[in-house]
Each structure stands twice: as structure tokens, then as C-alpha cells.
């Protein structure tokens, strides 16, 4: 039982303060709701708590690298690039928050105010009807209950506020948006892009990456200074994060209460009213529990954490948890599979270089299985890439020591260009999360058990993902092109999606077209959990749009007394 019940009732409770939660808090408070924003981790105040944001490389004892102690304490994080000395505090303490892997799943978490909005890759693209039609067209999983047209005005809204720098390219597969001027392609990127225009019947496009790094100031935020330090928290507020963008807006309304160190153990469900009545919170420091009441609850805890919370809620009514009546809660977990592509050398640019450090590169949108192309797999992939001149690290493998060697290593080296493919993973009921009652976290909660693997479709797609990049680069005149496949395990994309999918039918989906839990209409889930399919396109911008749309709907339903 709870230790106490908080008398003050809120209009809305938002669980999680990352990209989705920040948007929910902003939208709901701006519409006049009194909102309690709950965050399981510590607070990080904008600028003040970005302790390493302006530190120089030489101020780190290991120059940003990892130590054997770090590897020991962060065995999951150590599996890929996130483990590093510079923003270690932004990643979850794995000893406190274990999870169970039925199959290897790399779960890279950020438990703090701002969540992973502090460390995200900032790539911001709209999904299109090629994505929203996909399941219906392929007869896979269930149909999305929405189409692009319903989301487009919400993309407009979130892009304008978040600040997305990009070029209007006029491509059906990747709709244009409300963009600031893009971060310019450098001469290497432009060279390859221009060549590509004349190849492959003009169907493959190398475009400016669209990124949430602003190129013009916004209220309270400065334009990008080309520091390229975008995972430390930006002292200029130049990249979108909860702290730089949505949280100040929510605070300015006077309607927000932010509570860090608040772990939601369950959503409280009133079986007579068939509504959630609030949430139960464990204080992460004292372990005391408190119940908070609200008219509406938004779950924005990140895909796996929102599913984990639903699995623990209302189990007296539904043994499988709140939202489980369809039998789909926790199922259909997806990610983007990647870590392969090609790279090579650019010739003819030895007399060219750049000034500053760009926070992004280029993007090649999907061209497979669209516009008449047909492959032996479903769906497709896009590429993220960049061109640059090599730095000193090339000298490690080169012969030589001494003064001439040192001075040569200090000069920029060969221009190289490369692209890495990000592919769509099909929804599959068998890819799922459940509660592992045999293992408890630091707060006594049964941990999440993750059972997820890619299948044949992804394996077939990966051949194209690697070969196509090499083919494009070689055709564009890039020399010494080499392919690579670093291997992939689910989770590494840090694009977890699914587990509480949206749909048209309560019998086969967890959420309806407004991200409302079918079984509890005053509970909304607006993070990646709701995604019905994964697209190959980076998902965060779509979470923002879905959250803003759901918040608008929730307030309108509250006004109509439907919740």
C-alpha cells in the first residue's frame, strides 16, 4: 500500500520527461491544465548542469575514452559507442536497473530530466504514407489508424517550435516541413550528391540531413555555433532537448510541477469508472510511495518503460496489465537495424577544407520497394552519412615516426565519404517484453524481460543495405570503396518502437488513433510504444507530432467531459 495520498489533484500527470514527455507537458500546460511531470531520475538544469559542455578534450583524464572500471559497471552500454567519459552521467546506472535478455537486446537508457533528448542524434524527418500505408498494403500486423494527412499539421507545429534545419527537397518519400536553412553540405558531400543526381534514373537523392540543430535563433535559444558537442547538453540551447525547448515553455505557464526521482510503479485504475485515477510513485531516494490523482495520464516514459509500466498496472482486472485485453501489450517490439554500409576516398578535393564542426551530415532517403522498385524483401532503408578529411588518427597505422611524421599527422588527410544504412524492421508478435518476476530492480519492481530478434526480411534487406552504398559511391567516382557490416543486435538503433501499438480495433491493438488506451480512455501513450510499424525513418519527430496531437485531443475530450 501507499504511504500517503497526495491530496492535491492534478488535471494531468505526464510520466517521463524526454522528447515525448516534454511535449506532453508543454501542450497540456499551455492549454491550461495543471500538470505533474514525473521523472524517475535526477534533475538536470539547462546550462547549469551541463558540467562538461564547454570542457576541452585535454580536461578529461582519459580524453573521453573508456576505462576497464566503466566497462565493468556499464556492461550493456559498453557494447556500443554510448559508453564514454564525457557524458557518462546521462546514461542509466545498470546496477540499479537491470533487465533480462531472453536474447541479446542492447537497451541504452537515459534516466534523468530530459531523458535521451540530451543525447539524441537529432535527425528529424517526417514519415509519409509510404509508411502509414505499409502494413495494410503488405497484409502485415495491423493497419495504422492514421494517415499522413492527419499528422501533417502536427508536424508543422512541432517543427516550427523545435527548430528543424533542412532543405525543402520536394520528395514524396520524405515530405518537406517547416524548416530553417539547412546545415550546408561540404564540398565532398556536394560532389557525391551532384554525381548521384545523374545516376540511377535520378531516383536516389543525397540531401542535407534534417536536424534539430537550429540555424536561426528561437526565443531563449541561440543558433548552432558549429561546436559539434551535441550530446553534452548545449549551452546555447542550439539543439532541441526538453531542457532547451519544451520544459521552459511548460514552466512559463505556471501550470507545471516537475518531480524528479519519482518512479511510477503503477497506473492506478478505478474499475467502477473504467478510468485511471492516477499513479503510484516510489520516491527513488527514500522508497516512500505516494499516490497522485489526475483526470488524465500521459505515458511518455520511452517505449520499453511505458510498456513495462502498463504490464505492472491494473493486474487485478487484466493479469497481463493495463491495455492487455487485445493480447498485444508488450508485443511487436521493433528497432532500426543498421551498422553497415560503405565508404571510400574522394579525389580532386585536396585543395579544399572546411571551417568549423558541423553537427550533421547527409541523408539518402528510401528508394527501395517504392515508385516501381521491387525487391525480394518488404520495406526499405535510408542512409545517414558524411564526408570529411581524415584527422591524426590515420597516422596510427601509417609507417613513420619523427618530426616530419608528426607535422604530416597534424594536417588534414584524405577526403573520405561514407554512408550507413538504417533499415525498417517488420512488426512481429513474437518480439516481445514481459515481466520477469524472478528478478527485481533496486526498488523491488520485477524487471523487464526482452525477447526480440530480427528475421529473414531484415537479413535479405541487409545485403542491399551494404551493397547499394558501395554501388552508389563507386558510380559517383569514389575510389577504393569498401563495404562493412559491424553486425546488429536489436536495441542498438536506440529506436525502440511498438509494444503498445495503435490500431483500429481494440481486439488487435492497445491504443486507438489518438494514442488512447482502449481499456482506459483517460490514459494516453505517446512515445514510441504506439508505433504500428517502424518505417526506416528516424522516429523522434513523429513522437513529437503524435504527442501534440494526442494532447490536443485529450483536452478537447476533457472539455466535453468524455474522460
Amino acid at each position: 500500500m501507499q504511504d500517503q495520498v497526495q491530496d492535491q489533484a492534478y488535471d494531468a500527470i505526464v510520466v517521463g520527461s524526454g522528447i515525448s514527455g516534454g511535449w506532453a507537458a508543454k501542450e497540456l500546460t499551455e492549454k491550461g491544465l495543471k500538470v505533474l511531470l514525473l521523472e524517475r531520475g535526477k534533475n538536470i538544469e539547462h546550462i547549469k548542469d551541463y558540467v562538461n559542455a564547454t570542457k576541452a578534450p585535454w580536461q578529461y583524464p582519459h580524453r573521453g575514452g573508456r576505462t576497464t572500471d566503466m566497462i565493468k559497471h556499464y556492461p550493456v552500454l559498453a557494447r556500443d559507442y554510448p559508453l564514454n567519459e564525457k557524458n557518462l552521467d546521462y546514461w542509466v546506472d545498470e546496477r540499479e536497473s537491470p533487465y533480462t535478455e531472453a536474447k541479446r537486446f542492447d537497451w541504452f537508457r537515459g534516466y534523468q530530466v530530459g531523458g535521451r533528448s540530451l543525447m539524441w542524434g537529432r535527425q528529424s524527418y517526417r514519415w509519409s504514407n509510404i509508411d502509414f500505408d505499409a502494413n495494410a498494403k503488405d497484409g502485415i500486423a495491423v493497419d495504422w489508424p492514421i494517415r499522413y494527412e492527419e499528422l501533417a499539421p502536427w508536424y508543422d507545429k512541432v517543427e516550427k517550435f523545435a527548430g528543424i534545419a533542412g532543405n525543402r527537397d520536394g520528395l514524396e518519400v520524405l515530405p518537406d516541413g517547416q524548416f530553417m536553412p539547412p546545415h550546408k553540405l561540404n564540398c565532398g558531400e556536394e560532389l557525391v550528391g551532384n554525381k548521384l543526381k545523374k545516376l540511377f534514373d535520378g531516383k536516389r537523392h543525397l540531401i542535407h540531413a534534417r536536424t534539430a540543430n537550429i540555424t536561426q535563433p528561437l526565443p531563449g535559444r541561440g543558433a548552432c555555433q558549429s561546436r559539434d558537442a551535441c550530446w553534452l547538453g548545449c549551452p546555447y540551447g542550439a539543439y532541441f532537448s526538453t531542457q532547451s525547448s519544451t520544459l521552459p515553455a511548460a514552466v512559463a505557464t505556471g501550470n507545471l510541477t516537475l518531480k524528479p526521482f519519482a518512479i511510477v510503479s503503477e497506473v492506478l485504475y478505478d474499475k467502477d469508472k473504467k478510468r485511471a485515477s492516477g499513479v503510484r510513485v516510489i520516491d527513488a531516494v527514500t522508497n516512500a510511495t505516494t499516490d497522485y490523482k489526475a483526470k488524465v495520464v500521459f505515458l511518455c516514459a520511452s517505449t520499453l518503460n511505458s510498456a513495462w509500466l502498463l504490464l505492472r498496472s491494473a493486474t487485478d482486472i487484466w493479469p497481463g496489465g493495463l491495455g492487455s485485453s487485445s493480447g498485444e501489450l508488450g508485443n511487436n517490439l521493433m528497432d532500426h537495424h543498421f551498422r553497415l554500409g560503405a565508404a571510400g576516398d574522394l579525389e580532386g578535393l585536396d585543395d579544399k577544407y572546411y571551417y568549423g564542426r558541423k553537427p550533421t551530415g547527409f541523408y539518402i532517403p528510401r528508394y527501395r520497394n517504392v515508385f516501381g522498385d521491387k525487391r525480394e524483401y518488404l520495406r526499405g532503408f535510408g542512409y545517414q552519412g558524411s564526408a570529411s578529411r581524415e584527422g591524426w588518427s590515420r597516422a596510427i597505422a601509417e609507417a613513420g615516426i619523427g618530426g616530419a611524421f608528426k607535422d604530416a599527422a597534424a594536417e588534414p588527410g584524405q577526403w573520405t565519404v561514407g554512408g550507413m544504412a538504417f533499415g525498417e524492421m517488420l512488426p512481429n508478435h513474437a518480439n516481445k517484453v514481459t515481466l520477469d518476476e524472478t528478478t527485481k530492480d533496486k526498488w523491488g519492481l520485477p524487471v523487464l524481460k526482452i525477447d526480440c530478434a530480427t528475421g529473414e526480411n531484415e537479413a535479405k534487406m541487409r545485403k542491399d543495405m551494404m551493397a547499394d552504398m558501395a554501388e552508389m559511391l563507386a558510380a559517383a567516382g569514389v575510389k577504393d570503396v569498401k563495404t562493412y557490416d559491424l553486425g546488429y543486435f536489436p536495441g542498438q538503433g536506440i529506436h525502440e518502437m511498438g509494444t503498445a501499438r495503435m490500431g483500429r480495433d481494440p481486439k488487435t491493438s492497445v491504443l486507438n488513433s489518438h494514442n488512447q488506451v482502449w481499456d482506459a480512455p483517460n490514459v494516453f501513450v505517446t512515445d514510441g510504444s504506439g508505433m504500428t510499424s517502424a518505417s526506416c525513418v528516424n522516429p523522434s519527430l513523429t513522437y513529437m507530432a503524435l504527442t501534440a496531437r494526442a494532447a490536443d485531443f485529450a483536452v478537447s475530450e476533457l472539455t466535453k467531459r468524455n474522460l
Binding site: 564525457k86 551498422r339 588518427s393 608528426k406 607535422d407
Partner: protein, 213 residues
């Protein structure tokens, strides 16, 4: 060519997946695989012994004399030129920290043994220690070792141990080019460049941008 997943990749830093892409392209463009150690992305080597709980395998810190010795090695690889060299950038102390904190025990052993091997080679060639050898003798010895390590590293099997002199060279380069001298004097370091010019004329001799994070 494909890359083994358990081979650590090295670059100045790694920020995101775009940076991973840059790293891979740098790698394919000729930058190195760090031998045996797991500094940047690496999974711990499969056969690395566990860290002993009773402290028997605890690493004995380098002495001031050993750090001075490492400084001389680094400074022979990266000497004073138009910019100060590795000793001025305190590269020896950095190498000592990295070997102690970031190397797996078997790589620590290779590195330590390598320091003895190198001194023994100096004794044979110059009848004195490496530190006491003349600058010309030091250079000649390390040029020989550099050829030896490169030939070995270019042909070794993935699971074979790294050559100790590759480790020394790599840590020298890493330590120097991420030091204050290496960033601000040998390269261009501007904390907030303020703009990005995507395409500027470049004249041979101009130095690289140092990375931030």
C-alpha cells in the same frame, strides 16, 4: 572487406551514429585498429582474465622514472618541430594513465614487457638505456621497431596480441593530439567556431580541426 565486430575501432571521439559513420569511414580510409585494447568501442577481449578480486592482478602504477621513459619514447615519435612535442604535452603521464585504467591486464603485460624489451634493444644497440641514448640513437631504434610493428600488425591474425610498439605509438598520438598543445598548437581548436563554412580553399601545411566532444 568486412570488419569483425569484436575489433575495437579508434578515433578521436565518438558522439553519435553519424560519428560512428565517420569513424568507420576513417577506419576504412586507413586509420588503425587499436591492438588488443578496448579503448573506444571495444568489447572486452574474449580471453581477457577477470580482474582479480583479491588484488593479485592489481596493476602496479608506473613510477616517475617510467613516466619519464615513456615521455622520451613519445617525444621521439612526436618531437618538437614548429610546434612543441609530446614531452612538452606530458604524453608520458597520459600513457601511464591509459595503460593503468583502460588496458586489459593482458595488454598491460604486453605494454610493460615491451618497455623492458625496448630498453634491452637500446642496451644492445647503444650500450645504454633508451633514456640515456642520444636522440639520433633513439630515433634509429624506434624507426626499426616501427617497421617491425607495422609488418607484424599488418599481417597478424585478428586474435593475435598487439605489438607493444603499436600500443606506444597509438597512445603517443592519442595523448599528444588530444592534449592542449596538440589541440591548440599542432591543430586548430576553437571551442565555439560560430559558423560552418562547407568549402574553403586549403593550402598544404594548414593544420586540422581538433574535435570538441
Amino acid at each position: 572487406m568486412s570488419l569483425d565486430t569484436d575489433k575495437p575501432l579508434l578515433a578521436q571521439s565518438l558522439i553519435d551514429r553519424r560519428e560512428a559513420i565517420k569513424r568507420v569511414s576513417a577506419l576504412l580510409g586507413g586509420a588503425a585498429l587499436i591492438g588488443g585494447s578496448a579503448l573506444w568501442t571495444g568489447c572486452a577481449p574474449k580471453d581477457s582474465p577477470p580482474v582479480a578480486a583479491d588484488g593479485t592482478a592489481a596493476f602496479v602504477p608506473f613510477t616517475a622514472a617510467e613516466i619519464a621513459y615513456l615521455d622520451e619514447i613519445a617525444d621521439t615519435i612526436l618531437p618538437d618541430t614548429k610546434t612543441p612535442g609530446a614531452k612538452a604535452a606530458k604524453t608520458g603521464a597520459f600513457m601511464a594513465v591509459m595503460v593503468a585504467d583502460s588496458y586489459q591486464p593482458k595488454d598491460q603485460a604486453i605494454f610493460r614487457d615491451g618497455m623492458k624489451t625496448l630498453d634491452a634493444a637500446a642496451e644492445t644497440a647503444n650500450k645504454t638505456t633508451f633514456v640515456a641514448s642520444t636522440p639520433a640513437h633513439r630515433l634509429a631504434l624506434l624507426e626499426t621497431l616501427d617497421k617491425e610493428q607495422k609488418a607484424y600488425m599488418d599481417t597478424k591474425k585478428p586474435d593475435d596480441p598487439a605489438h607493444y610498439f603499436r600500443m606506444m605509438k597509438e597512445l603517443s598520438l592519442l595523448g599528444y593530439f588530444t592534449s592542449e598543445i596538440g589541440c591548440t598548437q599542432a591543430q586548430r581548436y576553437i571551442e565555439s567556431p560560430g559558423r560552418y563554412d562547407p568549402c574553403l580553399p586549403y593550402t598544404k601545411g594548414e593544420v586540422s580541426w581538433a574535435s570538441h566532444a
